[in-house]
Amino acid sequence: MIAIAPELVRQAQKGDENAYTQIVESLQSPVFNLCFRMLSNSKEAEDAAQETFWRAYKGLNRYDSSRSFETWILAIAAHHCIDLQRRRKLPLIDIDTFMEETEPDRNTPNPESALLESESQSQLQLMLSSLPDLDRATLIFRYWYEYSEEEISQSLDISVSAVKSRLHRARRKMANVYLANNPGDQKAERMRNESPVL
């Protein structure tokens, strides 16, 4: 992930709007990706990402420079998305929108592999949406942002042991959802391991 220069943050803290615009430009993808993975809807993710940058802008003076700026802003995004979902308590995914957005470009050299990748990604998003909010955030930080357990713990304000147990629970749930959606894989794997005599 892109690291923001401390000098740029200091300039933004002094009220330099151009410096803050540069920060938004650099962090738009990580923040939007986090919001999209959390909310599974691009319109809501866009709104949440903008709200995140606005909240960060208002709270710039409260930013502790001993922490990484990217970690700080992603923590704001994660908490905002968790709040949004607690408030709405509605189905998480608009699969038609998601399929449209992830529709592969037919002009790419290998449209078939692009289609397979898109299907795999939409399946991944469906599995993610089956997780409780905090478990999902934990898993997203671990795999998309390669955060350590300590960093996840700081970002989500939970203990390291809670991170470990949430990661474990999320992984088990994702595996089970995958197997439930792909019963053929279970069978194939079993057959591969069965004795040829049987």
């Binding site: 866009e46 990661l167 894989d185």
Partner: protein, 180 residues
């Protein structure tokens, strides 16, 4: 059979040593439940590791700048309204408290007598002040009245500029700047 132990190994980030790998392999050969879990997790982990960033539609920064301007204007308006409400409510509260105290402390007859006394006192003081001022100005040097008026007008101008600057700052930056 206790699967928890093997589940932890299957779902853990940490690499297993040779002995642990052997134990797990032996268990997987005999346990369909753990074997399924491993199959599912391998597929999911592979999808997670190959997942890419989803990027926003082009023009995100421009859209954010528009959003920021709207939110800033809204926040300033909200702060100005809040300040006016707080000031107004404080003044009304003080006025009401003073009125209640006043009517509880004095009888209506007392109040009327005192009001008349205050009114005549004010008129008498103003007349005396005017007379003293005229006498003072006549006895001082010729340039003094001019300097006196310049001084009064100067202070009035300073306070007027300060007031106008405050109003301008409220409309441009809100009551508080860059704060939640």
């Amino acid at each position: 059979m206790n699967h928890q132990f093997y589940e932890d190994w299957i779902l853990s980030d940490q690499k297993l040593n040779m002995a642990e790998k052997k134990l797990l392999s032996e268990h997987l050969d005999s346990c369909e439940q753990c074997q399924n879990l491993k199959t599912g997790w391998v597929k999911v982990e592979s999808a997670l590791q190959s997942a890419k960033y989803v990027t926003p539609a082009p023009g995100f920064v421009t859209r954010f700048q528009t959003f920021q301007q709207t939110q800033t204007a809204f926040a300033h308006r909200k702060q100005a309204i809040q300040s006016l409400i707080v000031t107004g409510v404080s003044m009304i509260t003080i006025l009401v408290a003073f009125t209640i105290w006043f009517f509880l402390s004095y009888s209506p007859a007392n109040i009327i007598v005192n009001l008349v006394a205050i009114a005549t006192g004010v008129i008498r003081t103003a007349t005396l002040f005017k007379t003293d001022l005229v006498l003072f100005l006549r006895s001082s040097s010729a340039s003094f009245p001019f300097l006196f008026i310049v001084n009064i007008v100067g202070w009035a101008a300073i306070f007027l500029i300060l007031w106008l600057l405050t109003i301008w700052r409220f409309t441009q930056h809100g009551v508080k700047n860059n704060e939640n």
